[in-house]
Amino acid sequence: MIFFLDTAAKEALTDMPPRNVNELDTITLHNLAIMNMEEDATGGFEKLTFLISSEGFPRETFVNLCLLYLKYEVCIYECINKNLLFYFFFKYYDFAADLLAENTDMTFKYMDSYIYDFIEAKIVQQTAPEAAFKKFEELAGTLIEQLRRLVKEVQENRRSQKDEQVKKKVQEYDTTLEKYLLLIYISLEYLFSI
């Protein structure tokens, strides 16, 4: 089912009237890069890097590029002799760090503080796992407070029968909970590794 829905998203882009790559608009180029990351990560990164260097790119591009740098890894193999092949996997953490350092204006413009702190902690995790763990715990603490506040707000809105507000707050609660679960997962991963 997931496979089916995944191809459905890609099909929507291939069903488009055909145009050459240099004729594509920024949104189509961004979507093409995101949808085809699994098959062609390098091509996807090229498209997104090109986009952020051009004018009028979709505002999600910068955050997506930073997050994708953390997600994907590159496989480099080296042939030691005729029979032995060594594979090295490394992630684009340095690229993410450089991107943040070189584009501080974009960081403030397009990134909220939670995403920035999360990416920063993930980069720090490579060299100082303990410091990153503390950072993730701090982030989890702020999310817990947000979750408590949202529960209160949902209850208040239910009492005053504001259905639309309840719906909105429940959705907000769900997205915050997803972020919180991710942090818990990362923290557990660290605790099991020590």
Partner: protein, 49 residues
């Protein structure tokens, strides 16, 4: 250019294409399908654990 192994010539960025808003529609459809996939993925994960 090639789509699904078939050679296709570009339609170009014509005014007709712009007026039809086909590009925006297909991008919106792709975004909806992508979000749906992720929602389903999270729900399956929640059920699993």
């Amino acid at each position: 250019m090639q789509t699904e192994g078939i050679d296709i010539t570009s339609v170009g960025n014509t005014n007709t294409l712009q007026d039809s808003t086909l590009i925006e529609t297909f991008n919106l459809r792709a975004a909806i399908e992508f979000i749906l996939k992720n929602c389903l993925y999270w729900n399956i994960k929640r059920i699993k654990y």
